[in-house]
């Protein structure tokens, strides 16, 4: 007798990472918390394991790690930072950390293929399980303000309007590890998570990107 196949896609196989990876992850999160002295604030927002896109201002290479470390362990296990392939595969330590410990989603900035746009890669990789950390300014800034957002965030939401967008403002990280420096100075920083926003139906790209940027700026001004 033929067994009836389920009509929906099979449940996603979740592989629990090996113990040493989990210990590395916890240890690294602790180190990042110590070095960044980060105090974490959730403003009208709660940590959750539902699928989300955390979008933040970007001033330092440490941003992704520090934001990732600021999440509770169970959320962290399901959250993948989107990072530049050229930086995170240079050197074995970085490569190991990015691919094994943070489970980063590495994007090739140098060659973007037609059917392999970064947004397509993100959507394929997160499936219906993972959350993302993105930096929509496109590159690191000096930390004075927040630059205009690139349109990737909009196209991501257009294809997946169900994703919750959480604005994040990272303060003082540019002083801990500024551009062009290798060694961090352990000053105190803070990370603020704001209330979720969504892409409204039919919302124009420019309006949405402005609204998203203002959500981050509001967190900056809440000090």
């Amino acid at each position: 007798m033929l067994q009836r196949l389920p009509s929906i896609s099979p449940p996603i196989q979740v592989e629990t990472p090996p113990v040493h990876i989990r210990i590395m992850g916890a240890g690294l999160a602790l180190l990042a918390k110590f070095l960044s002295g980060a105090s974490v604030r959730w403003i009208d927002s709660q940590p959750d394991t539902c699928q989300r896109v955390y979008f933040a201002n970007h001033t330092s290479h440490l941003d992704a790690i520090v934001l990732w470390s600021a999440l509770p362990a169970e959320v962290r296990a399901l959250t993948r930072p989107v990072a530049a392939k050229d930086y995170w595969t240079a050197g074995r330590v970085r490569h190991y950390l990015a691919t094994r410990v943070f489970n980063a989603l590495l994007i090739d900035r140098t060659e973007i293929k037609v059917h392999q746009s970064p947004v397509d890669v993100m959507i394929r990789e997160i499936g219906h399980r993972y959350s993302l950390i993105v930096f929509p300014e496109g590159g690191r800034t000096t930390g004075e303000g927040v630059s205009e957002f690139k349109s990737g965030l909009y196209y991501l939401c257009k294809k997946r309007p169900d994703l919750e967008l959480i604005p994040v403002y990272i303060d003082n990280m540019n002083r801990i590890l500024p551009r062009g420096e290798v060694l961090p100075v352990p000053l105190l920083s803070s990370i603020s998570f704001g209330p979720p926003i969504w892409l409204e139906a039919g919302e124009p790209k420019a309006d949405f990107l402005r609204r998203a940027r203002e959500a981050v700026l509001r967190l900056k001004e809440s000090y």
């Binding site: 002295g37 105090s39 974490v40 604030r41 000096t142 003082n172 540019n174 002083r175 500024p178 551009r179 420096e181 060694l183 961090p184 100075v185 352990p186 000053l187 105190l188 920083s189 803070s190």
Partner: protein, 363 residues
Amino acid sequence: MDAKTIGLVCGVLALLGAATAVVWVLRRRTDSGIDPAIVETFWLRIRAWWIFCAVLVTALVIAKTVTVILFWLISFWALREFITLTPTRPSDHRALFWVFFVVTPLQFLLVGLELYGFKLYGLHSILIPVYVFLFVQARIAMSGDAKRFLDRTAKIQAGLLICVYCLSYAPALLALPLSKPPSAASRVEQPSDPTADPETSLPVSSANLLSRAYENPDPGSNARLLFFFILMVQLSDTLQYAWSQIPSKHVIVPSIHPGKTWEGLLGGAGSVALIGAALWWAIPPFPYWFAAGMSIVIAFMGFAGAITMSAIKRDRGVKDFGTLVAGHGGILDRIDSVCFAAPVFYHFTRYWLIYHGYLDASA
């Protein structure tokens, strides 16, 4: 622990217990007629003291080395609060890295070596104000960014001076010789004998390097001196606050710290002098008048520390270092008076010891 140390610690615990009980009752009653804000301030302070007391006693019981490490960590955290608050430029980054990861550990390493009897010509008392201050200026100049050069170097130097250099004098109290070395008396009787056998003069020179090779008959006295110092600083803070609550107010510097009044300062200094004199038994070999005098010095230095940090905070537009980054305790708010009082307490104590022959200043 010896009987005196246990007595001192138990006394402090009893006092803390009583204070906690009183403030706890006041917090629950709304009809006491005391301003709830004052009660709340005391409540926060008492909580900080319990932590301070527990940590200090634990550290002193385990080992002096642990005490030095503990003060290093406090210093590290205070400095990061200080530098976070003061604006620096990206070109100061390398100099700051040195400050945090080389200078601060080195300073406490030197204090630690002093504890084990390595007299490095008092290097811990000149490392920062001489070598490091010059180094910081040169390192920032080398970064090639001249903008507001003196501003930037001064900020980093002030942070180092207050948070690292001054604070390191507190654990350095553990290295003061509080009993007379047995050789001190004999050295006076027989001034250097040119015919001395070179075989016997060798151990003497090594004993000079390891000055504490002899047994101190009262091993807990250094720990009690440190404990006495911290206790007096905390008491003077609190008593100054309590005295400044009395109605007739003569505010000392209204534009900097509206809470500090002459009544508070003088009343606080007078009260701690009495308490210090009453605790003279805890810190031999010092007489009661010296304990009282040092308590007054602590009260004035504590006031100086509070008013200086207040000026820095006011300039940067924050109420306290704790609100700078939400969720952090604000260590610098708790230890500003300790930082200012420590070097003065250390040196006055040392002068007394030299004057009375406990310490050879030329060594």
